[in-house]
């Protein structure tokens, strides 16, 4: 593994924190090498790269948690950073009315990395331009475009984590992705898509021809929907959701409300709390076919990691098991607070200068064994919503809304023409309870999940197979 960072800095800073009065200390050293290219309306706007290195120290002093970071690793800066973390924790001790404890965890000494057939560091503006030009051409050739905003990026993140419990973990993870906002306009009608793709692997993922084909399809279905879409039916229908919509629901309507720090109120002033409480563990929230999993260990996934940012070994978490609330997402702090003993490795920080907090990784509905086509059978009147545009959910994760971008009418078991902007606006328990069938076409979408203060965007997969909801009433537009 090529980890070109001075691990001794982390060791010394951690020891400095302990010498300064910390009862527990951890250091996280990260080096990021990244590059990106932005193209707007076919014009190459700007190309850039980033080479950052920094370290954070997190300490516990008498039940108070202190955190400090620096992007200056030379000289005494890292020692001063360690002292600052301890100083902040000591200053808070009088008002820390609920002492903070971290769960006792097995110490791990480990190294891991993601193989790259073509290193992302070798992807320069020419390669990035080639990808975006192919995609831009696919857009222009497929539909009348009002504007195109395209960004491609690639990064390699080298990380070294050390804590005073004995864990020492090195990792090297490449990530490649893109973010696109194409706007189609014709005859006074406007339609827009917001598309994101991303993986944890080398530049070999960025095949221009394949990506252009995939994006061209998105443009085509969006254009067809804009031109030919009809109003969705009113009254109760059956609603089939494609993997992208199922994925956002798994993330927003299961993953977030099962974050133990939300449940405990730690995020109350920012991303909110949860309608779920600890007493609901073991109670039914969905139908028998609804199982939701968060698994950071999926190879090459956007949310991939094998050890979290508290040094705990990652494993899949079954959040909903056959409709029953089974497990929450924990870090070492909430594991103690909720009395479950040990973390399940959900602590993530998006950079060296951020505190690790409870996060999702790759959250998805477990697939069943039926084909997607079988889900259409028996539907007299329904809508198939394959993906979405606008979405939001309240801060307790109880009322959600997803509006379809590509959607079709279903009549007597057959998919018909496009339906414009169907609105799923319903409560979370009603959503999980309405699922009566789950297909086998598991697929993932890449996303950046926001949480924390200062805000942290972590890469995640959202996913699932196609699912069917029975007797659902669509929402009304403005």
């Amino acid at each position: 593994m090529s980890i070109d960072i001075d691990r001794e800095l982390a060791e010394k800073a951690m020891n400095k924190a302990l010498d300064s009065g910390a009862h527990y200390a951890e250091a996280r050293l990260e080096v990021v090498k990244a590059s990106s290219l932005v193209m707007k309306n076919g014009n190459p706007e700007i190309s850039g790269f980033e080479r950052t290195a920094g370290m954070s120290i997190r300490v516990l002093v008498n039940g108070s948690l202190g955190f400090a970071s620096t992007d200056q690793l030379a000289g005494m800066n890292t020692f001063e950073c360690a002292e600052a973390a301890v100083r902040m924790a000591k200053a808070a001790s009088g008002l820390t009315k609920v002492p903070i404890e971290l769960s006792s965890e097995e110490a791990h000494v480990a190294e891991y990395e993601v193989d790259q057939k073509k290193r992302v560091g070798d992807a320069g503006p020419e390669e990035m331009m080639d990808v975006l030009k192919h995609i831009d051409r696919a857009m222009v050739d497929t539909a009348p475009m009002a504007s195109r905003f395209l960004q491609v990026y690639a990064e390699e993140r080298t990380k070294y984590y050390a804590n005073s419990d004995g864990s020492r973990i090195g990792s090297h993870i490449p990530r490649v992705g893109m973010f696109l906002i194409p706007t189609i306009m014709e005859g006074g009608m406007v339609s827009q898509a917001m598309l994101q793709k991303g993986v944890s692997m080398g530049w070999e993922w960025a095949d221009p021809v394949r990506l252009a084909d995939e994006i061209g399809r998105e443009i085509k279905v969006t254009y067809d929907n804009m031109k030919h879409g009809v109003k969705p039916p009113t009254g109760k229908i059956d609603l089939l959701l494609g993997p992208e919509v199922v994925g956002i629901a798994a993330h927003e309507s299961c993953g977030h409300p099962y974050e133990a720090d939300r449940i405990a109120g730690r995020e109350a002033a920012q991303a909110g709390e949860s309608f779920i409480d600890q007493g609901m563990l073991g109670t039914r929230i969905g139908s028998e076919v609804a199982t939701v999993i968060d698994d950071p260990t999926i190879e090459n996934s956007y949310g991939y990691y094998l050890y979290d940012d508290e040094g705990v070994k990652a494993r899949p978490k079954v959040l909903i098991k056959n409709g029953v609330i089974n497990e929450f997402l924990h870090n070492r702090e909430t594991a103690v607070e909720m009395g479950i003993g040990q973390s399940n490795a959900a602590a993530r920080a998006d950079n060296f200068n951020r505190e690790p907090i409870v996060r999702m990784s790759n959250t998805f509905v477990e697939p069943g064994d039926r084909s997607k086509e079988e889900l259409f059978e028996g539907v007299k009147l329904g809508v198939y919503m394959n993906n979405f545009m606008e979405w939001n959910i309240d801060d307790k994760r109880f009322n959600q809304r997803y509006i379809g971008r590509e959607a079709y009418l279903i009549e007597n078991g057959e998919m018909k023409g496009p339906v414009k902007a169907p609105i799923l606006e319903m409560t979370t328990p009603a959503f999980w309870a309405a699922i009566d069938a789950v297909a086998n076409d598991l697929d993932f979408t890449s996303a950046t999940c926001g949480k924390g203060e200062p805000g942290q965007g972590v890469p995640v997969y959202t996913g699932g197979p196609s699912i069917r909801l029975r007797d659902v009433r669509l929402g009304v537009s403005q």
């Binding site: 955190f67 009002a146 109120g265 109350a268 606008e390 009433r473």
Partner: protein, 446 residues
Amino acid sequence: MSSWSEILDIELPGKIVTKALEMGADDVICTLMTSNVKQVRFANNSITASKFWAQKVAGIFLVKERRVVATDISDFSTTDDTLQDLLNMSKVMEESQNYKGLAGGSFDYRPSAPDQRIPQLLDELYGYVDDAISSALDAGAKRVAGVLYTSAGNQYLCSSTGPSGDYSSADIEISIRAMAANEGSGHMVQSVVNLDDFDPGTAGKEAGELAARSQNPAIGEEGKFDVLFSPMPFANILERVASSSSAGYVDAGFSFLKDMVGKDVASPVVSLADDGTHASSLNTPPFDSEGVPTRRTPIIENGKLKGYLHNTSTAKQFGTETTGNAGLVFPYSWSVHLAPGDQGKEELISQVKDGYYVTNVWYTRFQNYQTGDFSTIPRDAIFRIKDGRIVGSVKDIRISENMVDLMRKVKAVGNDVKQIHWWEVTTPVFTPHVLVEGVNITKSTQ
């Protein structure tokens, strides 16, 4: 240059620009930012984390034969290699048709005078938090969560086309959310640049009062209602209006104000400006990212869109002058100001026959940036108003609207301007209460 790390901060951008020009760059801007930030987070009436960040980072924007490249650098021992890599990158980049040069000349900048007491605070921060929590509990809250920040920083800019300057800033702010029994909650923020104006106890008290008053909410009704927005939720709306006025956003398809200059995009009672000079704002740098002095720029006057926010390149593209809002790629607003009216909050409530009073929103998401179709979710205290009086609290509603339609339906603007800046509103927005007619309210179908 053998020892970049030893150069004084104030000299570093100039030396980097000079070196880049010697190496063959055509246009270069270097901006060095140094900052110290402290944060105290609290939840369930207790401190949950205390944090300190030290940062020193330079942004380098370099153009060679109209090929635009950029990077950030924090390890200054690598400056020579970084500049060479930027130039190498420019050779394989293609020409940008949208790059039309940087602002030239030399300017006298407004002097900055940050409150030097703010970066010295440490133990006092915990007293402020204690004051805020106690005040919220005294007002009826059971649980209190939030965050307190102090920020202090310096910025140094040098452009190869002439502009050069520096400034310092400092601010302190608190965001506090109070939860009462029976689903009541209220949220309040306070952001100031002068420590004498900082009053966390009042912020806590107001959040606690909202929480206590909003207990036992009923499920809200859907339909068209008049909605009185307090400053927190309307700042969320206005931040989106201001970002849509960036010429870069217009060009990229992110704006519902495209092709709307000179047209009615809001009610005649709405006048909105961007102001980079406002003394109380958290974000009033004397110069923009090209070194152009910041200024006050009207966005909407009496309901009509006056123009967009520009840097030099977008101004040339749109056939106008820069407004001092660079962003080197996208122009952006400094702080957003809605001109106040002359009515107080109670007077506005008295005008509502059948509607809602919304005190916070979050998760504003667009179906389509260009059409402006969006929804946002009221959270914390939501009150039902009937016949000019608050008659109870509600929950579980969503505002599902179009931005331009909403701005055109503004009926009255209050007189109680407040600066809003928090997790959901990242550009400072100065707004009073605002009354909007016929707002579309939706809710879950089941």
